[in-house]
Symmetry: C2
C-alpha cells in the first residue's frame, strides 16, 4: 500500500492506494475516531459491485451503517438528488459526529461530498473512489458539487474528506470506456506538472491499458501526489490550482453543450486538452512536436481527439464556455502549457485563435 499525505493544516488527510483496501474500510474508519453511526452513499452501479463489502466491513467494525443509493449518471448531480440523500440521513438519524462514506466514481464523490458538506452544516466524510478518474482526480482536493441546467459544477463547496481509500481492485469491474476516460486525467498530470510521468506514460501505456496492478499502483499514487502538491499550495483555487483545469474549459463546454452523458468527462477533456495544446503552440510557443505527442498519447489511450462541429454546435459550445467558473471580467481565461510538464493559468485567448483551435479539433 502507498500512502500520500495531503497537508492542509487541520484539514490534512491521507490517500491510501493499494489492493484489497475495501475490506479494511471499517477498520480505517474506526481509526479516525468518528461517531458510531454512518451512511454509505453510492449509485446503482458502484453499489452493485461494492456496497455489500463496504457495509459488511463497517458493520463488522461496529458502525451502525445506512446505505443510500441513487441512480447512476451525471443526471443525478443535482440539488433534488442531494435533498433526497439529506432526507435519508435524517431518517437514519445521523448526527454531527456521524460520517458519510462516498463509494463510487466522480459523480458519487462530488454529490456525496456535497451532501456531507451541507448536512448539519458539515459531517466528516471518507472517499472510496471506485473509478480511475475518481481515484486520480475527483476524490482528492475537496471539490464537491452538483450541476445546474446552465452548467456543470456551478454549485458546490470546498470540503475536504478525512481519508481517501483507493482500492485498485475496483478496476476489475470498470467498463473499458470508463477506464480510458480516467486515463485522460492521468495524462493531464504529465502535461501540466511532470514531464517524466508523461514520458513514462508514452512508454508504459500498454501496461496501463492491461490494468497491470503494479504499474497502476505507482501511477495512481503519483497522480495523487501531484494533485496533493497543487492543492496544498492553493486549496480554494485562487491561483495555481487552476492548472488542474487544463483542457477543462473546452471540455466542460463540450459536456454541457452536447447534453450530459454523450461524452464521458475524460473523453470531453481529452478533446479539450488537444485544443488547449493547439492554443499553447500559438500563445506560449509550446513546440509543435509536443502538441503532436499530446494528441498521439490521447489517441493511443483510445480517447477521442476530435469533435463533429457544425455551426449550431460551435455556437452552443462558445456560449457554454462563457459560463465557466474561470471566466473573469467577461473574458474566458485558459490554462495553457509552456512545455510538457509545465502549465500556466489565467491566459486570455483572442476569439480568432479560439476559433482556430476549434477548427483544429473539428472532425
Amino acid at each position: 500500500m502507498r500512502i500520500v499525505q495531503v497537508p492542509l493544516g487541520q484539514r490534512s488527510y491521507a490517500i491510501k492506494v493499494g489492493t484489497g483496501l475495501l475490506a479494511g474500510l471499517g477498520a480505517e474508519c474506526a481509526r479516525l475516531k468518528l461517531g458510531c453511526r454512518c451512511a454509505v452513499i453510492t449509485d446503482a452501479n458502484a453499489g452493485r459491485h461494492f456496497a455489500g463489502l463496504a457495509v459488511k466491513s463497517l458493520s463488522a467494525s461496529g458502525f451502525e451503517t445506512a446505505l443510500v443509493t441513487f441512480p447512476a449518471g451525471e443526471e443525478s448531480k443535482r440539488l433534488a438528488v442531494v435533498e433526497k440523500c439529506h432526507d435519508q440521513l435524517a431518517a437514519h438519524r445521523l448526527e454531527r459526529k456521524s460520517f458519510i462514506v462516498a463509494l463510487g466514481g466522480g459523480v458519487v464523490g462530488d454529490l456525496a461530498g456535497f451532501v456531507a458538506a451541507t448536512y448539519l452544516r458539515g459531517l466528516p466524510f471518507v472517499q472510496v473512489p471506485t473509478t480511475l478518474l475518481a481515484q486520480v482526480d475527483s476524490s482528492v482536493g475537496g471539490k464537491t458539487g452538483v450541476n445546474l441546467k446552465a452548467g456543470k459544477n456551478l454549485v458546490g463547496a470546498f470540503y475536504q474528506p478525512r481519508l481517501v481509500l483507493c482500492d485498485l481492485d475496483a478496476f476489475k469491474t470498470l467498463p473499458r470506456r470508463e477506464y480510458r476516460s480516467g486515463l485522460a486525467e492521468v495524462i493531464k498530470y504529465g502535461i501540466i506538472y511532470d514531464a517524466e510521468l508523461f514520458t513514462r506514460l508514452e512508454r508504459d501505456l500498454p501496461k496501463l491499458l492491461k490494468r497491470d496492478p503494479a504499474t497502476l499502483g505507482e501511477i495512481v499514487a503519483r497522480c495523487c501526489e501531484i494533485k496533493a502538491a497543487v492543492v496544498e499550495q492553493d486549496e480554494t483555487e485562487s491561483g495555481l490550482r487552476a492548472i488542474l483545469n487544463f483542457g477543462h474549459t473546452i471540455g466542460h463546454a463540450i459536456e454541457n453543450s452536447s447534453g450530459y452523458g454523450k461524452f464521458l468527462h475524460g473523453e470531453a477533456i481529452a478533446i479539450g486538452q488537444v485544443a488547449a495544446a493547439q492554443l499553447s503552440v500559438k500563445r506560449l510557443d509550446l513546440p509543435e512536436r509536443d502538441a503532436v505527442r499530446i494528441g498521439k498519447l490521447f489517441a493511443q489511450a483510445g480517447l477521442p481527439v476530435t469533435l463533429a462541429l457544425n455551426a449550431i454546435r460551435r455556437k452552443k459550445l462558445l456560449a457554454a464556455m462563457l459560463l465557466d467558473k474561470k471566466v473573469s471580467g467577461g473574458e474566458v481565461k485558459f490554462v495553457l502549457a509552456k512545455k510538457i510538464g509545465q502549465a500556466v493559468w489565467g491566459q486570455p485567448v483572442p476569439a480568432v485563435e479560439l476559433q482556430q483551435a476549434l477548427d483544429a479539433i473539428s472532425a
Copy 2:
C-alpha cells in the same frame, strides 16, 4: 453609527448599526473591492420596501445589479428555491468575484447566505438584515441554511459575510408581531451572557416597544457584540457557541411539529426559553425568582410563554427534538442557565424532567 468587529482572522468583518445606512449600501460595497457585478436576493416582503433603494444605491456606485426575489416565508427555505436563485445567478452571469446582497429578514439571510456559500463554491456576500431578529441574530455569525421536511436548518454551511449593514430605519415598516419576535433573541442575550443587559431590558422595555431609535441602536449593537464575542471563540459550534441556542431545542421542535408559519421563530423560542429556565431551576439551581423574571419579561414583550399541548402534539414535539442538530449519542443536550447572564451547554436532561418542563409551559 456604531461599528462592531467580528474578528475571525481572514474571515473578519464589520457590523455597522445605525439609521439611513441602506442608501449607502453601494458606497459600502465599493469599499470592499469586489467584482463589478452583483445580485440582490430578497423576498417579496422585504423587496417591496427596500429593494428599490438597495438597487439604486448599488447602481449609483457602478455595480451591474440583478434583483432576485422569492416568495416570503419559511416555506421558501428549501433547496428547490436555492436552485431557482442559482439559476438566476447563472442567467445574470455572476462570476467568482461577483457578490450577493442578502436583503431581508432571517429567512432571506439564511437562504441567500447558503446560495452565496454554494454558487461557484462560494461568492462573497453582504448581509442587509431588515428585521430585528435578523439584525441581532441570524445575520451575524455565518450560519446559513435551509430546512428539510424532517427539520429546520438541517442543511447549510458556515459561511461568513464580508459586511453586515443593520439599518434601524427598516423597523419603521416591520409588523408588530415580527418586531416582538425579534425581542425574544434580544432577551436571550441577557439570559445567556449579560445580566446587565437583562436588567436594562426590564427597565427599558417600554422604550424598545416604542422602537425608540437611540435605545435600539445601543441594544442592537450590544447584541451584535455579544454574538460576535461568542462566534469569535467558537466559529463552528464545537462548544461555547451552543449557548446561543438557549431555548432553541424546544423552540425548533415547536416550529417544526406545529407546521412552519404557525409560530414565528421568536415566539417559539420565547416558549422554549421559558421551558429551558424551568429545566435550569431543576438541573442547575437557577433561582426560582430568576425563572419568574424571565417568564415575566417575555410576557411583557408580548411574546407567548405557554403552549397548548395535547398528547399527540406532545409526542410530535418530543420526536422533533430527537432530530435536533444538538443531539449526540441519541441524547438531547440542552443549553441551561446557571444564573441570569451565564449559560452552559451540553446538559443532559432526564425524560421525566423534560416532561415536567413541558407540563410547566402547557396552557
